[in-house]
């Protein structure tokens, strides 16, 4: 906890939740994206449509899911469809306004790696892979990315292109025949970033309360560009913070109830 009364991670989640609109149809990833989307739903965007790739459309979970297929997501959804339908009709059909992704490695053009660290055939670390992300990144109208800043995570060159962001920048997406906007927002635990309109390089547009330019640079593997008119992200309101903490407390309590150290 900082002297501000909230953690960097809470600021990241709340800043991300603010970027979501009531009429958004959002393809939600697990972790910080899921928390942000549900805080948005429980505060300023009660009608937001949340979709998880397991097939739940318009879900409104009371607690955060542990994985994308939790029963809670189905029980509270408007409908649940099969996985092929999810990817064909809903994602490829162009019905998703925001795809919300996390990253193991991210570069300054919003390209994401969640596949391998090192060489693909002889990896240093084999990560889970893309799952739904390669097509979420190209079929959603816009992509929001959220991650905690580290030099290992935010790198000059990613080891593998799991999900295509802006490629080498500029009009690279259009040259590949991709007609969606790609990454339009990056929210970290320190700052809000937006792509430069021409080069598409992520540029810091707002620093979270108490964060310095130096901190942002020290935790990032490329030379950071800052906007000329740099804002300060408004601190979380009491409502936002309470909503997030209540959600996390409910989640913790619910999931503690399921374990007695038996495994299979």
């Amino acid at each position: 906890m900082s002297e501000f009364g909230f953690t960097p991670n809470e600021m990241m989640t709340i800043a991300a939740s603010r970027a979501l609109r009531n009429d958004d149809v959002c393809f939600v990833g697990i972790g910080a994206p899921s928390a942000a989307c549900n805080v948005a739903r429980l505060t300023h965007a009660p009608e937001i449509t949340l979709i998880y790739e397991s097939g739940t459309i318009g879900t409104a979970p009371d607690v955060l899911p542990l994985s994308i297929g939790d029963g809670e997501l189905c029980e509270t959804a408007v409908t649940t469809v099969a996985v092929p339908e999810m990817f064909r009709y809903w994602l490829q059909g162009g019905r998703i306004s925001i795809g919300f992704l996390g990253a193991a490695q991210l570069d300054k053009f919003g390209n994401i790696n969640t596949t391998v660290i090192g060489d693909y055939v002889h990896p240093k670390t084999r990560l889970p892979g893309g799952g739904g992300a390669p097509e979420i990144a190209t079929s959603s109208k816009e992509i929001y990315i959220t991650m905690a800043q580290t030099r290992r995570g935010m790198v000059e060159k990613i080891d593998f292109f799991t999900s295509f962001g802006h490629g080498e920048g500029g009009d690279h997406r259009q040259r590949l025949g991709i007609d969606t906007a790609g990454p339009t927002l990056l929210i970290t635990d320190l700052a809000i970033w937006k792509p430069d309109p021409v080069t598409k390089e992520f540029t810091v547009v707002s620093l979270h309360p108490g964060v310095t330019r130096q901190q942002v640079q020290e935790t990032c593997g490329w030379v950071v560009k800052f906007a000329e008119a740099l804002d300060e992200t408004p601190a979380p309101s009491e409502l936002e913070l309470n909503t997030l903490r209540d959600l996390q407390a409910r989640t913790k309590a619910a999931h503690e109830g399921t374990g007695n150290k038996k495994a299979a």
Binding site: L176, A263, A264
Partner: protein
């Protein structure tokens, strides 16, 4: 025509060394009991197909049963990495395995094409993504009407698919509800399908007509295994055992610990043990 069989016999009659096999389930209704029976029977050289390989494939890979995996997300759902699969890919332990990696969209379309009897699936995918460069089974086709370049992947046609479902009626029709995932497509794409169910009921007369039902003639064998998807969940029956997923991360991190755990919890057990495993979870469901 479908046969009701004990799981041991259903697995023995339908799985062979060298088969391509899908144990499907999308975080829900994962056929753990069927996978454990396959491990006890010691099959070799399997091609394991699954969108989200999770614990049961980590276990089979760790036991050296797989020569190849076809997948789109090789993680422990909600927890992190699959450590036995990693050890095999990174270090060739206990044996090296061939990897064919897709996206979820690629796998889902490939199963659907398999169910539809088509040789390949066509969809708008993999644009700008690195997978196409490392997987020779990702190619492209040009739409003959618009000229748009689309991704193409071969359809998935497993020798055998295993799934877990809520219930069968006495004739052998099978009901799947909740998150239905890819199970219907995986059954219809396969040459043979084996289904484990929580229970058998007289008939489905009280069900809504739009529920997902697999007609009995699409299935080779049904085995009644209450709790058969533990530690995943069966909607309406029992909740996910999250502690087991967390615990798996520690068990699978160590080769010796893994072998010891497998001996006690899989090799020396049987399908009848699953009902007891979910007893404490039924209340939470």
């Amino acid at each position: 025509m479908v046969k009701f069989l004990p799981l041991k016999q259903a697995v023995a009659e339908n799985l062979n060394n060298g088969d391509s096999v899908a144990f499907e389930g999308f975080t829900h209704l994962i056929p753990t009991a069927a996978a454990h029976e396959a491990i006890r029977q010691g099959f070799r050289d399997l091609t394991l197909i699954r969108m989200t390989p999770d614990l049961i494939y980590d276990q089979m890979i760790g036991m050296g049963m797989a020569k190849k995996i076809v997948f789109s997300y090789v993680g422990n759902p909600g927890v992190g990495l699959l450590r036995r699969a990693r050890d095999s890919i990174e270090n060739g332990f206990p044996r090296a395995i061939e990897v064919e990696e897709h996206s979820h969209a690629g796998m889902a379309n490939a199963y659907e094409a398999g169910a539809a009897g088509l040789p390949c699936a066509v969809f708008r995918g993999y644009r700008g993504a690195g997978l196409a460069a490392v997987n020779p089974n990702i190619k492209s086709v040009t739409c003959p009407f618009t000229g748009e370049v689309l991704a193409a992947v071969p359809s998935i046609r497993p020798d055998v698919t295993f799934i877990h479902a809520q219930k069968a009626d006495k004739k052998g029709n099978v009901l799947v509800e909740g998150i239905i995932g890819i199970q219907k497509e995986a059954v219809l794409a396969a040459r043979r399908a084996v289904v484990t169910v929580e229970e058998v009921v007289d008939n489905f007369d009280d069900l809504h007509p739009n529920l997902t039902v697999l007609p009995r003639w699409t299935i080779a064998a049904i085995s009644v295994v209450p709790g058969g998807s533990h530690p995943s969940y069966a909607h309406g029956y029992y909740a996910r055992d999250n502690a087991a997923y967390l615990e798996w991360d520690e068990i699978a991190a160590d080769r010796e610990k893994f072998r010891a755990w497998m001996q006690v919890n899989v090799i020396e057990r049987n399908a009848g043990d699953f009902a007891g495993r979910v007893e404490h979870l039924r209340k939470a469901a």
